[in-house]
């Protein structure tokens, strides 16, 4: 097995003096596709921010055994202000690291990379549109391009399927399947029924973290690890499967 990209060792974090995540251990390998599930308020987004270096470390250690980690981050849709006067192309460009802080302009190779990215995603026609004019799906696509433009080692997606229609959701999962061959992916979702067929492994986050080295989820597992999440099944008619009655 190759070296992990990222190791979290007995990590705790939180806000002010309140601990949200305690004693977390997680290793992310280059070919991982990890689904992060858990109840609202359980610390899923906090875990993501911790990995991205946006969250202070209370205790423990985070390190990158194979050197500097390039991350691509797709935040929750609510983080982005859609009325901000900025174009699709500018948003995608913002995914590129500034090479020289005293001359923070795009290099010509970076410009070509942005155009290529927009072309590949089918967004070239929308490049000069302000983001306020996009549909929910187009905006998510733009933000996904921003995350991918620098060819990250690790792609982190926080609830990418909220605020988008079902058609886009299917498309998105198609891309993620392809992308998972090129990079490690961490996919945060409350909708575990949809993500479980795709991901390779599952981490359940609820104040602590429990890693399940497969994508099979059983009720026992959820109970044992104290993961109070709903299992939702999708079919031709939206429906919810309830427990079999004891007398049946």
């Amino acid at each position: 097995m190759s070296n992990p990209l990222l190791v979290l060792e007995n990590v705790s974090t939180g806000y002010f003096s309140q601990t949200v995540l305690e004693e977390i251990n997680l290793k992310v390998y280059p070919d991982d596709f990890i689904g992060i599930i858990g109840p609202n308020g359980g610390g899923k987004t906090t875990l993501v921010k911790l990995i991205l270096g946006l969250q202070p470390l209370f205790s423990g250690r985070i390190y990158f055994p194979v050197g500097k980690l390039r991350t691509g981050y797709l935040p929750q849709a609510t983080q982005v202000d859609r009325s901000f006067p900025i174009t699709v192309k500018e948003v995608v460009s913002s995914g590129l690291k500034i090479r020289n802080p005293l001359f923070p302009h795009l290099t010509s190779t970076q410009k070509t990379r942005v155009d290529q990215m927009l072309e590949d995603a089918g967004l070239a026609g929308l490049a000069s549109r302000p983001i306020g004019e996009l549909s929910g799906g187009q905006l998510q696509k733009t933000l996904l391009c921003r995350a991918l433009v620098e060819k990250p080692h690790l792609l982190i997606l926080d609830e990418p399927n909220s605020h988008v229609d079902k058609k886009f959701e299917r498309e998105l999962y198609g891309w993620l399947g392809e992308l998972s061959r090129e990079m490690a992916i961490l996919l945060v979702s409350h909708d575990i029924g949809t993500i479980t067929p795709m991901v390779k492994t599952i981490a359940c986050v609820n104040h602590s973290l429990h890693y399940h080295p497969s994508n099979q989820i059983s009720e026992e597992m959820l109970k044992v690890y104290n993961c109070p999440v709903d299992i939702i099944a999708h079919g031709p008619v939206p429906h919810r499967v309830l427990r079999v009655h004891d007398d049946e």
């Binding site: 991205l52 946006l54 935040p75 901000f84 006067p85 913002s94 500034i98 802080p101 001359f103 923070p104």
Partner: protein, 289 residues
């Protein structure tokens, strides 16, 4: 009034200075105002503006330059508000309201207890664009040049930290540094503009041309030159109207900027609707065929 008599106003030094001040203020406000409007922090601008009155009062009391006092208070307020919103421990809007009214209160107290000559408060509240001198103009010019260079060189980090600071941090941008820097820039821009339009009206020159520009374009890069042009045009028109109608200059400027916004907005709404109607007609005709 004869036509020639009317245009003779442009020959007066004070009027030329006023026009130069209006144009330079518009250029300064175009950059800083676009940042403020885009980030939805115009209210912070209001806090900075009014808090600076405390500095004006204190400077008078101590016999110093009132605008230097205003600058110190404005920068301190701006940094304080940015710090509060960064730490998130106090509600930001409440903190702004406190600094806003505290600044005004301090200003009034200091001016009141200053012995002897009491300065004309109206000058600070409503500006005195018609008495702008060459040193004022030079100060405005240098600051405008500084801002143009700042925005040309650091355009990307300024834009990205305004748009999505969390994401910008993941790309290694020193977000806090840029935010604090822009706070100081905002404070200085506001204080310099108080000279022209006064405390009560200064926010409008940082807002109205920008929202007018956003009717034409929703690209940060293009909003700035549009806002500069619209601000300059509206404020020069306001100055001329102030002379022709014999009304206070700074109020006329703001009034003209607002009228300009309303006319352009109405024009776009009307033509937009006509265009929609025509497209619909074309569609129905196509369907009939």
């Amino acid at each position: 009034m004869m036509m020639s008599e009317f245009f003779s106003i442009f020959e007066y030094q004070f009027f030329q200075n006023a026009i130069a001040a209006a144009v330079l203020t518009s250029v300064i406000a175009s950059m800083v105002g676009t940042y403020m409007v885009s980030r939805k922090i115009v209210f912070i601008g209001g806090g900075i503006t009014h808090a600076s009155f405390g500095g004006i009062g204190l400077a008078y009391y101590m016999g110093l330059n009132p605008f230097a006092g205003a600058a110190v208070f404005a920068v301190m307020t701006a940094l304080g508000i940015e710090w509060i919103s960064d730490k998130g421990k106090v509600r930001e809007d409440s903190a702004i309201a406190v600094l806003w009214s505290l600044g005004m209160a301090l200003g009034i107290i200091f001016v009141f207890i200053t012995p002897g000559y009491t300065p004309n408060l109206m000058t600070f509240l409503f500006g005195s664009i018609l008495s702008v001198g060459i040193p004022d103009l030079l100060l405005l010019l240098f600051f405008a040049i500084f801002l143009v260079i700042l925005f040309l060189v650091f355009f990307r980090p300024i834009l990205y930290t305004a748009f999505d600071p969390e994401f910008a941090k993941t790309k290694g941008i020193a977000v806090s540094l840029y935010r604090y820097m822009m706070s100081v820039v905002m404070a200085l821009a506001i204080v310099l503009s108080i000279r022209t339009v006064g405390i009560i009206l200064v926010l409008s020159i940082f807002t109205i041309p920008q929202i007018t520009a956003m009717i034409f374009t929703r690209d940060f890069r293009k909003v700035i030159p549009w806002a500069a042009a619209l601000g300059a045009f509206g404020s020069v028109a306001g100055l001329v109207a102030a002379y022709a109608l014999d009304i206070p200059a700074s109020a006329a400027v703001i009034f003209f900027l607002t009228i300009q916004f309303l006319i352009i907005k109405a024009f776009f709404m009307l033509t937009g609707r006509l265009l929609n109607l025509r497209l619909k007609n074309m569609f129905y005709r196509y369907k009939k065929d």
